[in-house]
Amino acid sequence: MARDTLQAPPVVSRPAHPSGWPKLRARGPLTGWAFAAPALIVYVAFLVYPALNSAYLSFTNWNGLSPTKAFVGFQNYIALVHDSVVHTAVRNNLFWALVTIVVPLVLGLALALAVNTHLYLRSFIRTVLYMPAVLPLVGVGVIWGWLFQPDGVVNALLHDIGLGSLQHAWLGDSTTAIWAIMVPAIWVRTGFPMLLYLAALQGIPAEYYEAARVDGAGRWQRFRHITFPSLRTTHYILIALSLIETARVFDLVYAMTSGGPGNSTQVLGTWMYFNVFQGYRFGYGTAIAVVIAFISILVGIPYVRSQARDLR
C-alpha cells in the first residue's frame, strides 16, 4: 500500500516534539490550533452543534414552523414508547442488524476464502463481486424494487424453475416486505467484508499452514486453528463498523417501500423522516433521531477508542 512506502528510520521513531531551538519556541501550540481551526469550526457548527440542538429539540413540541416552542420534558420519549409504529421499527431495526451483519460477514468470508485460492482473473473476480457496494443505495433499491414487483424478475424466475406456487407480491405483503429489502442490503454489504477478510488472509504467513500440514492437520483443522483465529481483529472491526452502519438504515427502505405497506417496513430512520418532514412533528421526530444516534454512538465507542489510541 502506498502509505507503507514512508517508513520512519527505526532508531528515531517519532521523537517527542523537540523544543530546543529558540526559533521553534515561537511555534507553540497556537500554530497547531491555527491548522486545526478551520476543520474544527465546520465540524462543530454542522455536526456537533446540530446533534446537540436535536437533543434539545427532542424535549420540545416544536412543529418546525411556529416561532415558539414549548418545553415538554420527556413527553416525546414517553410517546415514543407507546407508539406502535416505533415498536415495529425497533423490531425491524433489530432484525435488520442481525441479518445484514451476519449474512454478509459469513458470505464475505466464504468468498474471500474462495478468491484467496489459486485462481486466474483474481482481481477481475474481486472487482466484479465488490461492484454492488459502490452503487448508490437508491439505485440498488430501485433495481430490486423492480425485480421484486409482482410481474417482476424474481417471480418470473420462480415460475421458470417450476416453483410458480411461491410467486408472491414480495414488497406488497407486510409479512415479507422487510425481508425482501434485506436481500439487496446483503448484496451491497457483502463486498466490504470480502475485501477485508481477503487482505487479512493474505497476511497469514504461509509457514503456519506448512507447519500444520507437516503435523498432519486437515483442511478443517487448519481453518479452525490457524485461519479463523488470525482473523480476530478483522471480525471485530467488521462487526463494529456494521453495527454503526446498520443503525442508520434509511435509503433502501425509503426507495423500495417508503415504510409501507401499512408502516410494516418502517425503520427508525424512515419513521423519523416521515414524522418531521411530512407530519411536521419536529420535536417527536428528533426524539427518534436522538435514539438512533445514541445507539449508534454507544455501539461505536469501543471502535473509535481503539482507532484513536492507534493514532496517538
Binding site: 502506498a2 502509505r3 514512508l6 517508513q7 528515531v12 531551538w21 526559533k23 511555534r27 500554530t31 497547531g32 491548522f35 486545526a36 478551520p38 476543520a39 465546520v42 454542522f46 455536526l47 452543534y49 446540530p50 446533534a51 440542538n53 436535536s54 418546525g64 474462495a114 485462481l119 486466474y120 482473473l121 473476480i125 474481486r126 472487482t127 454492488p132 459502490v134 452503487l135 448508490p136 437508491v138 439505485g139 430501485v142 433495481i143 423492480w146 425485480l147 424478475v153 448484496w187 475485501l195 477485508l196 481483529t233 463498523l241 435509503d251 421526530g285 428528533t286 438512533i292 449508534s296 461505536g300 465507542i301 471502535y303 473509535v304 477508542r305 482507532q307 484513536a308 492507534d310 493514532l311
Partner: protein, 283 residues
C-alpha cells in the same frame, strides 16, 4: 521431473476449475445489473412477449432517449458533479490541515481532540437533519445545492482525518525539522512537503469521498425540493415514480443514472480497495 510437471498440471486444472466456478458465481452476483442492460435495449413489445429473462430479439435505444428526457439526468449529473467537485477538495484540505496538526504539530488535548473527531464516525446524519434544515432556512439556502456543502464537509471529516492522520504520522519528523531549520514557514512545509508526499493517500481519500458524496440521499432529500436542484439519487427516486409499469424505460433510466459511478469504479477500483483497507485497518 514427471511428478513435478504432473503436480503443476493438477494445480493448473484446479485453478481453472476454481476460476470457472467463481466466474459463474460472479455472473449470477451481478445478474441484476445484467438483466437491467438486456431489458433496457428491448422494445416494449419485445419485453411484453418475452419477459425480462431473455436476450433481446433486436436492439433499440429509444428507451434511453425517453428516459434521458423524462428523468432530467443531465441536470442531476451537473448538480451532483458540482457538489462533488467543490466538496471533495474542500473537505480534504480542511481535514489535511487538522490531521497535520494532530500528527506533527504541538497542540493541546491531542488525544481528546482525536477522539472527538473520530466520534463523528458514529454519528448518523439524521441527527443533523432538523437543525441543519432550520439553520439553512434562516440563511435562505434551502433548495440550493450549495446548502449541502456544510453538512457534507462536516460529516466527511472524521473518515478523512482518520486516514490522513495515520498517514501524516509516518512522515519522518526530521524531514519537517530540517525544513524548519532552513527557515520554511509552517504553511510552506504543509503545502510544499507534506501534501506532495501524501499525494497517493490524498487521491485515495478523494475517490472514496467522491463516491460517498455522489450517492448521499438523506441530506439531499431534506434540503432540496425543486426538480432543477435534484442530485442523482433524488432524480432516480423521482424517475422510479414515473415509470412504474414501463420496465424497459425504467431500466434504461436506472442504467443512465448508474453509469457515471460504474465508470468511476472501473477506473479507480484499485484505489478504492486500498483506501477501504487503509480506513479499516490502518497502522
Amino acid at each position: 521431473m514427471t511428478t513435478y510437471t504432473r503436480r503443476q498440471a493438477r494445480r493448473r486444472r484446479r485453478a481453472l476449475a476454481g476460476t470457472a466456478v467463481m466466474l459463474v458465481f460472479a455472473f449470477f452476483w451481478v445478474s441484476p445489473v445484467l438483466i437491467l442492460i438486456t431489458t433496457a435495449v428491448k422494445s416494449a413489445a419485445d419485453f411484453a412477449s418475452s419477459g425480462a429473462i431473455s436476450l433481446p430479439s433486436s436492439l433499440t435505444f429509444a428507451n434511453f432517449q425517453s428516459a434521458w428526457s423524462v428523468g432530467q439526468f443531465g441536470t442531476a449529473f451537473r448538480n451532483s458533479g458540482l457538489v462533488v467537485l467543490v466538496k471533495v477538495p474542500l473537505g480534504i484540505l480542511l481535514a489535511a490541515l487538522l490531521s497535520y496538526a494532530l500528527a506533527q504539530l504541538k497542540i493541546h488535548f491531542r488525544s481528546s481532540l482525536t477522539f472527538f473527531m473520530l466520534l463523528g464516525l458514529t454519528v448518523p446524519i439524521f441527527i443533523a437533519a432538523v437543525p441543519v434544515f432550520t439553520l439553512l432556512r434562516q440563511a435562505g439556502l434551502i433548495d440550493n445545492i450549495w446548502g449541502l456543502l456544510p453538512p457534507y464537509v462536516a460529516f466527511g471529516l472524521p473518515f478523512e482525518v482518520l486516514i490522513l492522520t495515520a498517514f501524516f504520522r509516518r512522515i519522518p519528523h526530521e524531514l519537517i525539522e530540517a525544513a524548519r531549520i532552513d527557515g520554511a514557514g509552517e504553511l510552506r512545509i504543509f503545502f510544499g512537503i507534506v501534501l506532495p508526499l501524501s499525494l497517493p493517500v490524498l487521491i485515495t481519500v478523494a475517490i472514496l469521498d467522491a463516491v460517498a458524496t455522489w450517492n448521499e440521499l438523506t441530506m439531499a432529500l431534506v434540503l432540496l425540493s425543486s426538480p432543477e436542484h435534484r442530485t442523482v439519487p433524488l432524480s432516480l427516486l423521482n424517475f422510479q415514480g414515473q415509470f412504474t409499469t414501463n420496465f424497459p424505460a425504467l431500466s434504461a433510466g436506472i442504467l443512465i443514472a448508474l453509469l457515471p459511478i460504474l465508470i468511476w469504479y472501473g477506473l479507480s477500483q484499485r484505489w478504492i480497495v486500498s483506501g477501504l483497507l487503509a480506513g479499516a485497518i490502518k497502522g
